[in-house]
Symmetry: C2
Subunit: 118 residues, 2 copies
DNA sequence: ACTAGTGTTATATGTATATAATACACTAAT
DNA sequence: ATTAGTGTATTATATACATATAACACTAGT
């Protein structure tokens, strides 16, 4: 995985895992790899991985059983809300930033259309 | 100005200034406020403001005359390229992230449409 | 009981960011 | 020449992030 240097790695890892959960690459209720394994996979220090996981737990996306492992939440409402929130954030950012650059709504459509044709 | 805690302040300031240049709030060739004044306006330390400005100069967006002040570049090609690059980056990010969340192209249109109706 | 595999915590080190305070270097107007 | 207003540079301090290394705490299977 490539890391953006301007944003903390643990946040980028959280985002990656959230995407995998939302797209059911990691289905609800499923066990996720141990922090040590994940740290190796993400090529990152154990503490950094631990931070990502504990934040994900704090957000309710995963839950943890000490000595056993971590699991994707079973709460479907949480997962639906997560997907909504992530896409909502993306489109809001896109629109507001484009407006700040002086683009009209029609231009936004056109630019999106053009990008998708690639 | 509100700052996002996850990305360096000097980068956020650079982005703000670039937007003002692209939208001609700061027209080409125009003098921009001194680093000291800007530091106060952006409620930031002089050194942080200086970093933002020197990076903007390195990118060719502004140019500086020691003892005199800093000015928006006169090079219209640079300004056009800047706007293109910024909007291109926005739409690319939007599309690729939405894909990673599992949305289809049609869904992207719909979500954008819905957001703009607000 | 033991052990291997979990999550969790702690200490030390290096780097980047941001602030604070101070000084230096140049330009234009007086 | 002096001065006020520019950009520029230096040093010190604090904080967040990431790493390295080591240890602690819990669980399940043997």
């Amino acid at each position: 995985m490539k890391y953006n240097t301007t944003v903390p790695i643990y946040l980028q890892i959280m985002d990656r895992i959230k995407k995998d959960i939302v797209t059911e690459v990691l289905p609800k209720g499923e066990r996720i790899s141990s922090v040590r394994v994940l740290a190796e996979q993400f090529e990152v220090n154990l503490n950094t991985m631990q931070r990502a996981c504990s934040e994900l737990e704090r957000e309710g996306v995963i839950f943890t059983q000490r000595g056993v492992g971590s699991f994707v939440t079973n709460d479907e409402a949480v997962l639906n809300a997560l997907k909504e929130k992530m896409s909502g954030s993306l489109v809001k950012t896109f629109v507001s930033e484009m407006k700040e650059l002086g683009y009209s709504e029609n231009e936004m459509y056109e630019i999106l259309k053009k990008e998708l044709k690639k």
